[in-house]
Point group: C2
Chain length 516, copies 2
């Protein structure tokens, strides 16, 4: 058995059953091996940003890694932005990068580059295979490392000859997953004391704590202590909607987030770190909590946050409080003009139960979270690393991980252009993804940021650089060009009708929502 | 004057007058400064691979650098594949990457990453600015470093506060360009002796030696010595066609290239290195020249190849030979089925004088070079680093550098999908680019490589992974969706008509050439 086959079989044995890929010549033996390993599902992306974003989305919904297969340094480069998002999402990814054969390295052939250096910027673990005989052990280690809590990118660099040379049998041993850190008793006691102090206090959570179980624990803690509840601005996977405990994300804009936390004296964090501004602005503080607010780490992102929350519940005697779920309450639908609010209302009303919402609507999404807070229960996946072009591919991976759930991808037009090739994969795999393109024909966030960083009102050149007009993008044509049914909506009524129809039909669909 | 403005003005003063960009929040002060620096032309790409590829194409035609403006590590990641190609093209690029403000670094904000590590993989020079006061000197140095012979990527990392803080006046001093190495007299004598030895010998050239002047020198050398002439498989810019000296590129397939050089005893190289296989294959030698062939470095890629060729001409007494230019001879046009050969014939007949051809047609381009060898004089730009998705953006940059020349972009459908956003920039800037998409609905090269690496005939899964069908890509819709006029050609006659019309009309156009 050659290295490529032994690698694929080891992955399957270790529970990695999907490989998102865009292979090249140095990966041909993996492609050949795929024909001998029927349990590995191979999903082609026509650009590597689709591959890495899909691996992120898959991991968010499956709670286990997918593999990627990328072609040398440039393929990894193309995948890098969404690997960055996946790193910030703290999800497991087994990131396989093919390379020039070991005996060809001395020649500095055109495609050669320093793959390990590039991979290091996004990976928690990088290993370069040097011999086909190493492969099963290296692949087995990569799976375990990808699952190192809370999850990380484990990159395995495989030179072509290590794929085609004779290897050993695949590993069948159970994957060794490192245990998460367990918060110390002192951390639990410190958090409890802070929340019980009678001073203004809040609990900020993210990661697994945003699943139903964590939210229920947080609700008990809030009731027992009077602490306010917050979650991070951007979260890997947030279970929300009717029947779940409400929790508000901190604002993206640091001044608003700072205002929300003003006068706070104690901030307890679990599954995340003390919040900071996404960007720096002249004259704006970089931290979100007040300077004299005490930060209490109940559980670091690497620790078992649910265990820590449970122990905090016990410490506070909060078991007696029942979690307070939200009711099912849908807003009214809008009529007439198609506005971000009209879209949010339509979504809240039509959202199917257990839908997965992938949100990169940016400025167009201002009303989404409030409108959908009490919609049917759903999962909310947001952009964790700030590298735009994330939602369309994350939707691909989420739909493959959760084939029985409806996936709704809320994507701004500017962001969509970075990874529009995702639509082709959605069509090829007949994924149940309804894409909503928030088409305001502008990088609107940049108009806002231009003024926020103190550069004043954008001049004519700046306005042109923020504009997606001249020429206009036609999202219906772009989608149809990649085999995805599409229609344009310019009124609330058109949008509601299109959304209802696409949600009903199997396979992908796209709505170009023309907003101002 | 803030750092951003001082940087832009220093660039303009140093002859860098075009900035290809995809800015984000940390680059907003550059955008604002652009409104105060009218001599800097700002060209927006909707994906960073467009930006970096355009900078490559610009440098190839302008022989001076453009600047890029990229947003943090993920923006650099998206640009990486075409920066890799630019590195292998050995062209100058002033690569500017914005970063999180210095005082915000301690917070590990979501977009933060190790930019220098990523940049190092493609750059000959990397500098991180730490203070706005450094900026003019750093920008001045970056221009000079980008021009270090033969040309390289000089990356300047600029934290947001260094852009918005007060800086000093821009540099107006002339840019200091390091001198190229000058080949030693011993190298000239060794090359002359090898070529005069009476044993089978060849001269392999690339770089500036593939411009008219270098070709003329090579022709004299060949006539004086009987040496055969070759050039690299993929070249940055090759001036060819009627009135120029013929030179054949080595085959991409190592076995064929090895066969072409079999029995060779002396290989003299100028402006390049001893040729090697693009990839390794089991049982195939990695080097192209025979194992016992002596390699004589007349001029390394870093050296002044034209100077070395001139001195070799003198050493050989070859001044008395006149360069032998090719006649103008156009092939006949094809009729009926649209084949790669029919496309090549049409191109050879219709190629406007001084056209710039950007070639990433891959398997569809098999007949291009032979058919166009004696067409009207033109420049041929090929994919230098093997990172596909290069031709559409290189065409953007070439058209901006050479606005009076017709640019023809020959692009395979698989490659086109990586950077299709280039079409939008072509439309926005009204560039005279005629794009031909070689649409065989397949990564055909991979079917070939699958067998060549010893993986046998592709099985059903492999065939699906090489196929761009199910769904079909519709290039007419994709182009129209980005504002580029487009039509589909399925016969030779349709193709000829479309090519003639698009070449006549100003602005971009796209032909989806449906081939088998």
């Amino acid at each position: 058995m050659n290295g490529a086959e032994s690698l694929l079989r080891t992955l399957v044995n270790g529970g990695v059953e999907v490989c998102f890929m865009n292979p090249g010549t140095s990966e041909m033996h993996f492609v050949a091996a795929a024909d001998r390993v029927p349990d590995m599902r191979c999903v082609l992306g026509l650009f590597e940003g689709v591959v890495s974003g899909a691996a992120d989305g898959y991991a968010r919904m499956a709670d286990r890694p997918a593999a990627t297969l990328l072609h040398c340094g440039p393929g990894l480069g193309n995948a890098l932005a969404n690997l960055h998002n996946a790193r910030r999402a703290r999800v497991p990814v087994v990131n396989i990068v093919g390379d020039i054969a070991t005996h060809h390295r001395a020649y500095d052939a055109p495609l050669q580059s320093d793959i390990a250096a590039i991979a290091g910027a996004v990976s928690g673990w990088v290993r370069e295979v040097r011999d086909a005989m190493e492969i099963p052990e290296a692949a087995h280690a990569a799976i375990g490392e990808s699952l190192r809590p809370p999850g990380q990118i484990a990159t395995l660099i495989v030179p072509a000859d290590c794929a085609w040379n004779e290897s050993t049998e695949p590993f069948t041993d159970p994957v060794i997953v490192p245990e998460p850190e367990r918060s110390a008793d002192a951390q639990i006691r410190e958090a409890a004391a802070a929340l019980r102090s009678g001073r203004p206090a809040a609990l900020l959570i993210s990661g697994l704590a945003l699943r139903e179980r964590g939210l229920a624990l947080a609700s008990r803690i809030a009731q027992a202590s009077g602490a306010r509840l917050w979650c991070d601005t951007f979260n890997t996977r947030h279970e929300r909607g009717a029947g779940r405990v409400a929790i508000a994300p901190l604002s993206y804009f640091p001044e608003r987030a700072q205002e929300a936390l003003q006068n706070l004296e104690h901030l307890v964090v679990a599954g995340t770190r003390a919040p900071v501004g996404f960007f720096a602005y002249p004259g704006v503080r970089g931290t979100i909590a007040p300077p004299d607010c005490a930060i209490h780490v109940l559980a670091s992102p690497e620790a078992d946050g649910l265990d820590a929350l449970e122990r905090l519940v016990a410490e506070l005697g909060a078991e007696k409080f029942e979690p307070i779920p939200q009711p099912l309450e849908r807003p009214d639908l809008s009529r007439g003009a198609l506005t971000p609010e009209a879209i949010a209302r339509a979504l809240a009303v039509l959202l199917p139960e257990d839908a997965v919402v992938v949100d990169e609507a940016i400025t167009g999404g201002s009303a989404l979270l409030s409108m959908t807070a009490t919609a049917a229960p759903h999962d909310w996946l947001s952009i964790t690393g700030g590298a735009i072009g994330q939602a369309l591919p994350v939707a691909v991976g989420a739909a493959i991980a959760a084939p029985d759930r409806s996936v709704i991808c809320l994507e701004s037009d500017g962001s969509a252009m970075y990874t529009l090739q995702s639509l082709w994969t959605q069509a090829r795999e007949s994924l149940n993804v309804t894409n909503v393109i928030f088409s305001n024909a502008e990088y609107r966030i940049l108009s806002i940021e231009h003024q926020r960083v103190g550069a004043g009102k954008p001049g004519p050149k700046a306005r042109e650089l923020f504009s997606l007009r001249a020429p206009d993008l036609d999202w219906v044509r772009l989608a149809l060009g990649m085999g995805v049914p599409a229609r344009r909506a310019t009124t609330a009524e058109e949008f509601i009708r299109a959304l209802a129809e696409f949600l009903k039909e199997p396979g992908p669909g796209l709505i170009e929502a023309v907003i101002d």
